[in-house]
Symmetry: C2
Subunit: 560 residues, 2 copies
């Protein structure tokens, strides 16, 4: 077998010209078999330089969006290689003329040609001549190839090779764009997944703003939310490359590009903000970021089907998402599609987060209101449940408990005395000492509370706060006389908080203790009545200034 | 200008063979400039038929996943065109041999060649000879071209054209695949958007199952959820082309393909279920659908950040999603990626729906428990709030009110008597008539209730049920003496339901009225005390059997 694979494919008994053409075209076919655009262009330019007996060359592709020729490959002088990625307008130079006229130009005396604007970077030697020809596809120029210091003007052959490659280049460019599109869609799906699992609004906004900037390859991005009261569009979060700026910016409704987007519900693509009348300069001034190009899309919540006969929520525009200053090139339709998809999911999850927030707020506020009303039956226990809940939470955090457990403690403590609904008012509000019978009845409130709330499936983690807040480690508590480990963590925490509030509050039969005296008393009863860890945490929290007795809270309110 | 554009590009003074080669290659270049695969193949086959002086031809592309040659273009006999899309194994025939050997085959006497297995469809005439040559790319055959009844064996030229086109074909195939991938990703993003706005589990599952089938182009798809108590994997919803089957299927934990997926958390792709030991036949038997290929992915909930100091939920596998019987071809990695992304979002939204459901259940169950406890202070009002809520909801639905409003009515009615917390027990439970002073106090409960709950921002739509359920259209009600339109819709609805329950329940001072008598009484007081529309709706609902008095409910319970 011959060591050059291409000579195999030349038919026998053909003229030398034909044989050469076969070999060159077989080489071109081999080069074309690469799907990677940069390799393809590189090898192709090399072949054309060879065919022309030249010693240097450049291959440019047209960027139709900007009408610029982009240097894709430069062969020859090493220093000239840094031109790769540079752009020149098609209005200029020999390459621009070649593209505009869509036909080859041969320049025998390059240094003296008026269209030659010299090398863009310093090279060792100015080329003496050039062949510049267009890459023609369906009659249109999609790029230009220039070779320098040629020895053969094989114009027909290089044009044949050029159009042989032009279709490959187009497909490779499209393929590269599609592959990039697939990757960006994959990133988008990944971002959406992250977004969807964040019901915390601050964390959500921070993540979105970073994701938008990265997905769009932009210098900055910002998220605006409509203020329901004023109707102003408020910059909720912005992030540029320096990640520092988060100014407090209000855009009046209907003003600025973002105002138009929010009002119309339509996306806006502004290639040059400086010439767009809608651009609101306030944001630039406040952030110190000069806006060149902007892509802005609305944040529109979907109609959410709530289920369980709760109907659906209405779709509405709650703000807008902006990408500012595309780093490479200009924003296009694909960018808009991606940003809109991101905005859609953002609005959806913001909406879900609000629904969830509202449902939780509804529950917490309702039990606060009801337990406050129960407390209020006896003026001496006014605000008791709320304070016990606050103390319990502070104590639990001091103990380093997990947020989920702290939340159970918050709710359980708030509800700990709900059983008082079942205790006659006369006993609850009796100013003097209770009779034995009355006291027996009074001691039923933990059981009553646990019974009332025991039917609530979602309160299983809280119920022991109701049942056990009068138990003691030494087993002398009520209603069950549980001992040490038999008492739940939540029960032990709430017991300490409950007693602390009781002894530091006014009672008809005695003066309130100071916080110090109360903590002393708790400390003296550690291990017998109270859990030591809880007592220690209470003392630590007090020393850090995180615990204020009823008296202290009242004094504070008066001072304010 | 010459009318044949290709003769322009032939260099002057070249041999005839060279000139012809230029023209043929220029035509090939023009053909190659199409990016649409089918057009490209079609025109290319036409050129090769022309070059060989043949009168028919076929172009096949290799499907690497199945090792089959796919008929892409057939030229010549019209009846043969129906072969397009058919597949033949590469183990067979002249085309298969060409592909396997990656070199041309010329058959002078086709009808007597043992490899020729005849036309797959009846054609007018058996071809007498054939040239079959591979489309070579980087030394490998990616397809085969066959021409029939050739007159010239220009083997080198057709091979040159073949490899000239092979790289274009590869790029066009990749481009088509990428474009399809982009479209599928776009569909996925659209599906994710739909999914994310559905917190109703049934609607969500139905949508997912349909989307999965369409996105994967599969015959059927099914969604399994782990039953938390038994650990069984339960077929929650399945949909095949007929959209009928939804059998009750439990797969024991760890069993079947889906059991493996749930246990391992890893996706499984089974090209042939009949030979896979993990396949659990129970589902096939129950659905009547024969499973050929299966793609199964886990449903894994993410770690959800809840915000507001509520911590985060833990990630866990809650079930699996299956696609069954790919309609065209076999499941591949792209399918798996798409199905997994769909499953991820499904699990996330199912989880969010549960969180939201739990938060709402918590609220509703808690206020049910508390209002029931308030009712229970007086044995005569046992279950009153719950019944008034049920009556109000039935009445509101009968009026055709929107689900959102019905839900406000449900909650408002449940809370309507919460102000009784502020009424002394002695008054609430007094067996005889109240004194004027006691009655004055008793009449404060709407105001007290509205005051207690007025602080709850999320109850603004419900508060009037508490405040206005003792108002009358004629202004003779309390506490505000509002008239007709001054009374809110929710107030008017709850008033009717409240009075109906009061007069049909036992009271210490009178016997309960029958439902008919009670409705008569309501009807007699329409327009003065009660809103006529509400009274009518109450009567209609009763006639439909949707209203049961306390007595009737008790009798029913005894019977059961």
């Amino acid at each position: 077998m011959d060591h050059d694979p291409f000579t195999q494919i030349v038919p026998k008994n053909v003229p030398e010209e034909t044989a050469q053409l076969y070999v060159i075209l077989a080489r071109a076919n081999q080069i074309a078999s690469t799907t990677e655009l940069d390799d393809l262009l590189d090898q192709m330019l090399e072949l054309i330089i060879l065919v022309c007996g030249a010693n240097a060359g450049t291959l440019y592709l047209l960027d139709k969006e900007t009408n610029e020729l982009v240097f894709k490959v430069v062969h020859g002088d090493d220093t000239a290689k840094r031109l790769v990625g540079e752009r020149i307008s098609i209005d200029k130079g020999i390459s621009g003329t070649t593209l505009r006229q869509a036909r080859p130009i041969i320049v025998e005396d390059l240094p003296n040609d008026p269209r030659w604007f010299g090398p863009l970077v310093k090279t060792s030697q100015t080329p003496k001549n050039t062949i510049s020809f267009p890459l023609l596809l369906r009659g249109e120029a999609i790029g230009v190839v220039q070779v320098f210091n040629y020895r053969k003007t094989q114009l027909e052959l290089v044009q044949l090779l050029g159009s042989r490659m032009a279709s490959e280049i187009e497909k490779a460019v499209l393929l590269q764009a599609r592959e990039q599109h697939v990757r960006r869609m994959e990133t988008l799906v990944q971002i959406i997944r992250e977004i969807s699992s964040t019901l915390d609004q601050d964390a959500l906004l921070a993540y979105i703003i970073t994701s938008a900037r990265e997905l769009l390859n932009a210098e900055a991005s910002s998220l605006f939310l409509v203020d329901e009261e004023s109707g102003d569009i408020v910059l909720s979060i912005a992030r540029d490359v320096s990640k520092t700026s988060r100014p407090n910016i209000h855009v009046p409704a209907g003003q600025g590009i973002i105002g138009h987007v929010v009002e119309s519900g339509k996306s806006i693509l502004v290639p040059d903000a400086s010439t767009d009348q809608r651009h609101y300069n306030g944001v630039d001034l406040a952030t110190g970021l000069k806006t060149h190009s902007v892509l802005a899309v609305p944040l529109r919540t979907p109609t959410v089907i709530l289920g369980r006969e709760r109907g659906a929520t209405e779709s509405k525009i709650i703000g807008g998402l902006e990408s500012i200053n595309k780093i490479d090139g200009i924003f296009n339709q694909e960018d808009m599609q991606l940003l809109q998809a991101l905005a859609d999911q953002t609005a959806t999850v913001l909406h879900l987060a609000h629904l969830y927030e509202d449902a939780n707020e509804l529950f917490l506020d309702t039990i606060k209101a009801i337990t406050a009303a129960i407390d209020a039956k006896d003026p001496y226990t006014l605000g008791h449940s709320q304070r016990v809940s606050e103390f319990s939470v502070t104590l639990a955090k001091e103990m380093g408990l997990q947020p989920e457990i702290v939340h159970h403690i918050r709710v359980g403590a708030l509800l700990h005395d709900v059983g008082k609904i079942g205790i006659p008012d006369l006993i609850l509000t009796k100013p003097g000492n209770l009779t034995a019978e009355e006291y027996r009845k009074m001691k039923e409130h933990p059981t009553i509370g646990a019974n009332i709330m025991g039917q609530v499936r979602m309160l299983q983690n809280e119920i022991q706060a109701l049942a056990e807040h009068h138990e003691r480690l030494d087993g002398k508590g009520y209603p069950y006389g549980l001992e040490s480990d038999q008492i739940s963590l939540i029960g032990r925490v709430v017991t300490v908080a409950d007693v602390f509030d009781a002894i530091t509050s006014d009672r008809p039969y005695r003066k309130p203790l100071s916080a110090e005296d109360a903590l002393d008393w708790l400390n003296n009863n550690r291990g017998t009545h109270f859990d030591s860890t809880c007592v220690d945490a209470m003392i630590q929290a007090y020393l850090k200034g995180n615990i204020k007795t009823q008296k202290e809270q009242q004094q504070r309110q008066i001072q304010q």
